[in-house]
């Protein structure tokens, strides 16, 4: 009678994870290979890591990417949060129209957005480079922030602001001391989402990077076209490790750190 049923769902789950992680594991393993191709493993070596840290162009690009991501998501968070507040305060059909305009940007293909930015910047005579990449990243991050913050605002009781006024607060005090602190988890989630979108964006960035400026995804793409370089594997392995640590850190903070026990779900998996 104690014959156990075979656990099909467990097997399925394991299979999914294997398929998802196998390419990454494969890539990481070859980053330690002494050889220069991924056809055969040639024994353990740190040489690709040494190459990577000696490659100043690559290091510069890594920092460029991080600066763009941090700046773009910060600015997008500010604009997006204010935008979400404005959408919430808009009445009637205008509110839905605004929200739809926001969502259209989320679903429209990156290629289209990238191409239109390229045309837009050339038309305005903005030189392609740091500024154009930053502006376009801010632009495509704003809708993400709006979508993350808006539900938090909708959760707030409409009388909360009235209560703040009632207790003597000015409009600014009501916003800074009541509304913003109450939606901070949503703002934080929006910031992280924007960060991950900015970090791994390829399609939009591809159009608006100029000659002297590049981000990681674009650089890796152009190098991969010229043949596999295991330096890229080393870089990918490091980035994978960093994002893993970020996820673990986030998990730890949300589980033990938060005084208010508020847990926000943020998809960190995109950052690699």
């Amino acid at each position: 009678m104690s014959k156990r049923h075979f656990n099909w769902s467990g097997l399925y789950l394991a299979l999914v994870f294997v398929i998802l992680y196998a390419p990454i594991v494969y890539l990481v393993v070859f980053s330690f290979s002494a050889g220069t191709t991924m056809e055969h493993y040639h024994g353990f070596s740190w040489r690709h890591y040494a190459d990577l840290f000696g490659d100043t162009r690559m290091i510069t690009i890594v920092f460029n990417t991080i600066i763009i991501a941090l700046l773009a998501s910060l600015i997008a968070t500010i604009i997006g949060t204010l935008g979400a507040l404005a959408i919430k305060n808009t009445r009637g059909k205008w509110r839905n129209s605004l929200l739809s305009l926001n969502n259209v940007l989320m679903v429209s293909p990156d290629v289209i957005i990238g191409a239109s930015f390229l045309i837009f910047f050339t038309m305005l005579g903005i030189r392609l480079g740091f500024v154009s990449v930053l502006l376009s990243h801010i632009a495509f991050c704003i809708p993400i922030v709006v979508l993350m913050v808006l539900p938090k605002i909708n959760e707030l009781s409409p009388t909360l602001v009235d209560a703040a006024y009632d207790l003597g607060a000015t409009r600014w005090q009501a916003l800074s001391q009541v509304v913003l602190p109450a939606i901070t988890p949503g703002i934080g989630a929006g910031y992280f989402m924007a960060l991950t979108y900015s970090l791994d964006d390829f399609a939009v960035t591809f159009f608006v990077t100029g000659n002297g400026f590049s981000t990681l995804s674009v650089e890796i793409y152009s190098r991969a076209r010229q043949g596999i370089n295991l330096e890229i594997n080393a870089l990918s392995a490091i980035m994978f490790l960093v994002s893993l640590l970020l996820v673990l850190g986030y998990y730890f903070i949300s589980k033990h750190g938060g005084r208010r026990n508020r847990i926000v779900t943020v998809k960190e998996g995109d950052a690699q």
Binding site: S157, D162, A163, Y165, L167, A169, Q173, P181, R260
Partner: protein, 363 residues
């Protein structure tokens, strides 16, 4: 003589084309417990929002201590509100919530601490200051909301359906506590509710509101015993309302049968409505009853039985009695002249008061 703290003069409020309040006129005396009572959509919450300053009247004047305050914003009024959903700030703990108003006004830290503790003590939440709002029960949140309002020492405290989210037992307890608190603090409370029991139990003065107008203002006893019109009689308490004809002063005819009553001042043979409260009707023997009827149903409700009797003329009477009867039995119904209250159709409150004064002086 208590001084008037607040006055509405011909206040009207429209939202677009929708008239929510029509010609509202009243005065509020300092230190009393007022209740705005009416069904949902009657405009009672709008009156509260006008007092608090969240909305501005379309026309008319609102006076506070004799000063017109129509355009004084909410954050500059000496009025605080307890909201229906409490509107506590979720990112602050209990003490921070209560301290918010004082902190905004730049009160010194030591004083804030002292006053917050005092306020928490008043609502019996001593020692709960460090708790998170999410860790508090509904009744406790209610108290936090009250503490947050009274800590600012407002001249008027507004309570918007403040007890309706609590369960029945807690609500009854809070009614007593609110009443005590109001006496203790001596400030004016304006309480909005649709629950007539709550209004009767707590108030010094009740304003009955329907359809954007004040139907009747008075003490709970006045309103219960002498409702002005059909709406008030029906809304407050349970009642038997039957059409009648006022033959002459102190004599009313119901379904062709004459009864002595204590009302007067109407035209002879005027068509009127007669209110008799179910608890004023007694079941007696057929011989002793002024009306005779058959018991249709009997409902045990804990404190009493609700008995439905239809009389020989086919009219249904609702009777609340602590004595049991038998369904299907022939019984008599008896009542005294004082139990009858006669209402004229379309009488204004001013006319009603004048009429009452005119014949009560004669007695």
């Amino acid at each position: 003589m208590a001084k008037n703290i607040m006055e509405f003069r011909h206040v009207e409020k429209r939202f677009d084309d929708n008239v929510v309040l029509k010609d509202i006129d009243f005065t509020i005396e300092a230190g009393k417990f007022y209740t705005l009572l009416g069904p949902s959509g009657s405009g009672k919450t709008t009156i509260l929002r006008l007092i608090a300053g969240f909305d501005q009247p379309t026309s008319g004047e609102i006076l506070f201590n004799g000063q017109k305050i129509n355009n004084v914003p909410a954050n500059q009024r000496q009025v605080n509100t307890v909201f229906q959903d409490y509107a506590l700030f979720p990112h602050m703990n209990v003490a921070e919530n209560v301290a918010f108003g004082l902190q905004i006004r730049g009160v010194k830290k030591a004083e804030i601490k002292r006053r917050v503790q005092e306020a928490l003590k008043l609502v019996q939440l001593e020692g709960y200051g460090e708790r998170e709002i999410t860790a508090m029960s509904g009744g406790q949140r209610q108290r936090v909301a009250i503490a947050r309002a009274i800590v600012n020492e407002p001249q008027v405290l507004l309570l918007d359906e403040a007890l309706s989210a609590l369960d029945h037992k807690l609500r009854v307890n809070m009614q007593t506590e609110l009443r005590q608190l109001q006496r203790q603090l001596g400030i004016t409370f304006i309480f909005v509710t649709h629950d007539q029991e709550e209004a009767l139990a707590m108030s010094d003065q009740i304003m009955i509101i329907n359809d954007g107008t004040i139907q009747q203002t008075g003490t709970p006893v006045d309103i219960y015993d002498e409702p002005l019109n059909h709406f008030v009689a029906d809304f407050i308490g349970e009642s038997n309302i039957v059409p009648g004809i006022m033959k002459k002063d102190y004599l009313v005819s119901i379904n062709g049968q004459d009864f002595e009553c204590v009302d007067a001042g109407m035209r002879p043979n005027e068509r009127v409505e007669v209110v008799i409260r179910p608890e004023d009707l007694d079941i007696t023997s057929v011989e002793q009853g002024q009306l005779v009827g058959t018991v249709d149903t009997q409902l045990f409700r804990g404190v009493d039985y609700q008995i439905m009797v239809h009389d020989v003329r086919g009219h249904e009477w609702k009777i609340n009695s602590i004595h049991k009867t038998t369904v299907g039995a022939q019984v008599g119904i008896s009542f005294d002249p004082e139990d009858i209250h006669v209402m004229r159709y379309n009488e204004t409150e001013a006319d009603f008061d004048a009429r009452l004064d005119s014949y009560e002086e004669d007695d």
